[in-house]
């Protein structure tokens, strides 16, 4: 007799079994084998053959070992070996599930296509928007420890000046005394004309203090940083170039460092090249040191940034700057000041992102909702199918499949669907990012380009898996809750459990709630945009071209500037298609805004009262006709208003009405500067309509106009009103300017209409995107309610048949179906209105002329949504009444 016990023991040896247990098993199996051996011998089978048969039976595919390994608790945890049989088995099972899932997807091609399209679009939109949010809000700025950087400014809201930049004197004062900040730098954007080596070009530059790059924590990639002593007049004829300018204009020649280039006709030595991607502030192409002057108070134009000292916050810095500002005046005027100055400090990152933050977050929330709605739709489709698959699942349960096994299979199916959707989504996202990229880059200067980087791809993958679990979980869990007995007994049609139907309903309700939120959000924005477009800006933007030139000193001093101005206007006026030409220091909606304090004679403010502020513009005769601003009283400037003639000015209606109830300011005298200013008085000769500047949503500032001829300034906008398409005139204008001075670049050429619409850009894009998300949501929700109602009808065919057979009128059955659908819709609408109220509050800051809780928008869109839902429910309802009672009953 073979040693069966030893035989079994040797098979168990490799298993992580408790020794006593292994003994027991060996004993039990050995008994069995012995008995069977006897039996085989008894049947006349030769001993050797019997032994061989039994050995084979025992060895059979290692079933014994594999099964026992799975069953028995190991004496100690087995070492984790990759590809160990248990895992291999699990993986094999998984592979089976994947194959099964793919087969199912192919089998239900219609459902798969619908789900994939929905998912692909929703995930794609999310990925694209996330890539924008990632580059704009999340990716750290290209500075060392960017979180420690703040930007700060003074504020005087009582004068209508929420933001007041500092003059050099303040900056020098702060820099010497601040403890909350380890370093402070100041800068101011400037335009510079590069000549020599090719065509004259206007460049965006920045005047910066010598420690600018050190405060930001970046150093030139080539050459050196600015030196402290270069912050002095005469010593500051050095520049650092951006990587972009260096490559574009100088062919990335490292030899340029140490050589001089000509900027505004002045030879300036290049000392360094910044690394790629560094263009702060804005899109600066080159930097030049400011000759700082501790006495200089006449240009309140410097932006200030600081690096917080360890342990200090932005609020600490703001308090300290306010105190230091008071101290500055005390030192200067000898009069104590306490708590009079106010300052604001915010993280630099927050400031740089500016106005796009709220719209971006709103859009991200919106696109997330669209995905949720899409997932709810797919979950509903799958729930419906899970209902239909009830029998298949029940059979598998009967045959011993564990609930975990079934959940796994259903989840694998939904994850496969999600992954395929995610792949489509990535493709959609690539397209969307390509379309959105230029728009974002144009509006957010620190974003150089938009791309689907690994973080975005990872986010998309995460979102995909989450979506798959989200829409797969409900059907999967429902799958395991099937009542085997009922399902097996019922007819061929599957009947989803009551719980499944409740889930269907919950999904529909939330879909409608989310859709309504989006619709109302989009509706509010749309109304704001319409209101903005109806705002009268105070000028007529159509058919006006604006172009900027700067006459560089020292070649142009006041007489040369005046001469240039008197020569260029008639030349331009003589061009065909030109109706009016004028010059101004700043055209409406152009960059920059020169604001000045002023005093009206006879209306001087008391010393304790704030000095009023107005936007100041220098203009040539014919300016108001050229931009289309109405003259309300008095006269325009004309050729009498020249150098040496009495000083005259024109005020706008808002300023005039502030001091004269009838708005008649003609004859009044106004002086720029504060009470102690020694500026000459100017006589008001006219009143014009108020104009808005930069932002249609903002009330117009007070305006003061003076003749350019009386105060020649070298930087000006040319304003040309045309009778033809203004864009076509740009080359002719450039030609006339170059004819007067070949070294003058004409830049920032745009139409007034473009300038106004650029100011609405973020608005318009937000609006368009939100509206399309809302429509997508509406469509998905309509499909959702249609699907659920149709399913409901198909499941109740018998019932309707019986009702009709018993004499119910078709109208009754229709009402039954419609009533059920519309109850869900109304629940969704109610929740959606509450949600929309919350969303509207978030939108509040970007709404214009419409209240966040505007009843018209809320009411109209809720009604529209309900109407769409009614149609979506009506179609299946009509089918319900088309049921032939006989046919329906035959199914029973």
């Amino acid at each position: 007799m073979p040693e069966w016990r030893r035989e079994v023991q040797s098979r168990l040896a490799g298993l992580p079994l408790d020794p006593a247990r292994a003994d027991e098993i060996a004993e039990e199996l050995a008994q069995h084998l012995e008995q069977r051996y006897e039996e085989l011998l008894g049947r006349g089978i030769p001993a050797a053959e019997a032994e061989g048969l039994l050995r084979e039976e025992l060895a059979a595919g290692n079933v014994l070992e594999n099964e026992l390994r799975r069953l028995e608790r190991p004496a100690e945890p087995p070492p984790p070996v990759l590809g160990a049989p248990a895992e291999a088995r699990w993986l094999r099972g998984l592979a089976g599930d994947v194959r099964y899932g793919l087969r199912a997807m192919r089998k239900h091609a219609g459902l798969t296509a619908a789900a994939l399209t929905t998912l692909g679009l929703a995930i794609g939109a999310n990925a694209a928007l996330f890539s924008v949010v990632h580059s704009v809000l999340l990716r750290p700025l290209p500075f060392a420890q960017p979180a420690r950087l703040v930007t700060f400014w003074g504020t005087a809201p009582e004068k209508g000046l929420p933001v007041v930049n500092y003059p050099q004197a303040f900056y020098v004062h702060f820099r010497a005394r601040s403890h909350t900040m380890a370093g402070i730098a100041a800068y101011d954007g400037i335009g510079l004309t590069l000549t020599g080596a090719g065509e004259a070009e206007r460049l965006e530059g920045a005047n910066v203090t010598a420690d600018f790059f050190r405060v930001l924590g970046r150093a030139p990639a080539l050459g050196r940083d600015f030196l402290a002593e270069e912050e002095a007049r005469g010593r500051n004829l050095v520049t650092i170039l951006s990587d972009g300018l260096w490559r574009r204009r100088f062919g990335a020649d490292p030899g340029i460092v140490g050589r001089a280039i000509t900027l505004d006709n002045i030879p300036t030595t290049v000392v360094g090249i910044m690394p790629p991607g560094f263009t702060f502030p804005g899109r600066t192409q080159l930097w030049i040191p400011i000759p700082t002057d501790p006495q200089m108070l006449n240009c309140w134009c410097y932006s200030t940034i600081g690096r917080l000292a360890p342990g200090r916050t932005a609020d600490d810095a703001a308090r300290e700057i306010a105190t230091l500002s008071d101290q500055f005046w005390e030192l200067r005027e000898g009069r104590p000041r306490r708590g009079e100055s106010r300052a604001v400090a915010v993280p630099l990152a927050r400031d740089m992102v500016g106005e796009v933050r709220t719209p971006l977050l709103v859009l991200l929330a919106a696109v997330g909702m669209v995905l949720l709605i899409a997932c709810a739709n797919i979950a509903n489709l799958l729930l419906a199918r899970a209902g239909a698959r009830g029998r298949e699942i029940a059979v598998r349960c009967c045959l011993g499949a564990s609930p975990a096994r079934i959940v796994r299979q259903l989840l694998v199916e939904s994850l496969l669907l999600a992954l395929a959707g995610g792949a489509i989504g990535l493709i959609v996202a690539i397209g969307a990012v390509r379309a959105l990229g230029p728009v974002v880059v144009e509006r957010v200067p620190h974003v150089q380009r938009l791309a689907l980087d690994p973080v975005v791809v990872l986010f998309t993958l995460g979102l995909t898996v989450l979506s798959g679990v989200f829409f797969g979980l409900a059907p999967a869990l429902q799958g395991t809750r099937i009542d085997l007995h009922r399902t097996m007994k019922d007819g061929a049609r599957g009947t989803p459990a009551r719980a499944g139907r409740r889930l269907n309903d919950a999904f529909v309700v939330s879909q409608f709630a989310l859709s309504l939120m989006l619709l109302i959000g989009a509706g509010l924005l749309l109304r704001s945009l319409r209101n903005l477009l109806e705002v009268d800006p105070g000028f007529r933007p159509e058919n006006v071209l604006v172009a900027r030139i700067s006459l560089p000193s020292p070649a142009y001093r006041e007489p040369q500037i005046a001469a240039f101005q008197t020569r260029i206007v008639p030349r331009l006026a003589g061009l065909p298609g030109v109706r009016a030409v004028a010059l101004t220091t700043t055209a409406p909606f152009s960059h920059g805004n020169n604001q000045q304090e002023f005093v009206v004679r006879g209306h001087e403010p008391a010393p304790s009262q704030p000095i009023p502020v107005a936007s100041a513009r220098l203009v040539t005769p014919g300016y108001f006709a050229a931009v289309g601003t109405r003259l309300l009283r008095g006269r325009e400037f004309d050729d009498r208003d020249r150098e040496g003639s009495p000083l005259v000015g024109i005020v706008d209606e808002s300023l005039a009405r502030r001091y004269w109830a009838d708005g008649n300011a003609v004859g009044a005298q106004i002086r720029l500067g504060n009470l102690s200013s020694t500026n000459p008085w100017v006589t008001v000769v006219g009143v014009v309509a108020s104009v808005r500047h930069g932002n249609l949503a903002k009330e117009p500032d007070h305006y003061l106009y003076a003749p350019l001829a009386q105060l020649p300034v070298g930087q000006m906008d040319i304003v040309v009103r045309t009778s033809v398409d203004p864009v076509g005139l740009a080359p002719a204008i450039r030609h006339e300017v170059v004819a007067l001075d070949p070294a003058l670049p004409v830049y920032d050429v745009h139409t007034l209409e473009q300038a106004v619409s650029r100011s609405l850009g973020t608005y318009q894009i937000t609006n368009r995107l939100l509206a399309s998300f809302a429509l997508a949501a509406l469509l998905l929700a309509a499909i959702g309610i249609y699907g659920v109602t149709a399913l409901n009808v198909s499941q109740r065919v018998n019932e309707f048949g019986i009702r009709l057979a018993l004499g119910a009128r078709p109208g009754d059955v229709r009402a039954l179906v419609l009533g059920r659908g519309m109850r869900l819709v109304l629940a969704g609408v109610a929740i959606g209105i509450a949600g929309a109220a919350a969303l509207a509050r978030l939108l509040g800051s970007i709404l214009f002329g419409v209240k966040p809780l505007d009843p018209l928008t809320f009411g109209a869109l809720a009604a529209a949504l309900a109407a769409v839902a009614l149609v979506a429910c009506y179609l299946p309802a009509r089918r319900a009444t088309a049921t032939d009672p006989l046919v329906a009953l035959r199914y029973e």
């Binding site: 027991e24 098993i25 039990e28 199996l29 008994q31 069995h32 084998l33 008995q35 069977r36 039994l54 039976e57 025992l58 060895a59 059979a60 079933v63 014994l64 099964e67 026992l68 069953l71 028995e72 089976g96 298949e392 029940a394 059979v395 598998r396 009967c398 045959l399 011993g400 499949a401 085997l484 007995h485 097996m488 007994k489």
Partner: protein, 110 residues
């Protein structure tokens, strides 16, 4: 549905029904399955015992070493209360399944 599921589920049903009335040991079970199915179903030693252990672990069976006079001790398996109710449910759904299959396939072939 895979054939593993099928076999696993039905094997459990077979074992549970055979120990429903009296406790039996492994060899006896294998003989009974073979003889009652007229040789159509056979369990070999390598798959039978893991199955018994699994049912035991689930608490559907209870195995106990029993010594009888003049014999070696043997392990007998009897059904637990839980096993009994599982058996009842399985038996019901199995007959429904068979009936369902029969309705589809037709009495001649089932």
């Amino acid at each position: 549905m895979t054939s593993t599921d099928l076999k696993k589920g039905s094997a459990e049903l077979l074992v549970l029904s055979l120990v429903e009335r009296e406790p039996r040991h492994g060899y006896e079970l294998s003989k009974l399955i073979e003889s009652r199915s007229r040789g159509a179903v056979r369990f070999n030693v390598a798959s039978l015992y893991p199955l018994l252990y699994r049912l035991e672990k689930r608490g559907w069976l209870q195995g106990r070493w029993v010594e009888k006079a003049g014999q070696r001790r043997r392990r007998y398996y009897r059904v637990t209360a839980e096993g009994r109710s599982v058996l009842k449910a399985r038996r019901r759904s199995w007959s429904e399944f068979v009936a369902a299959v029969r309705r589809i396939v037709g009495p001649d072939y089932a």
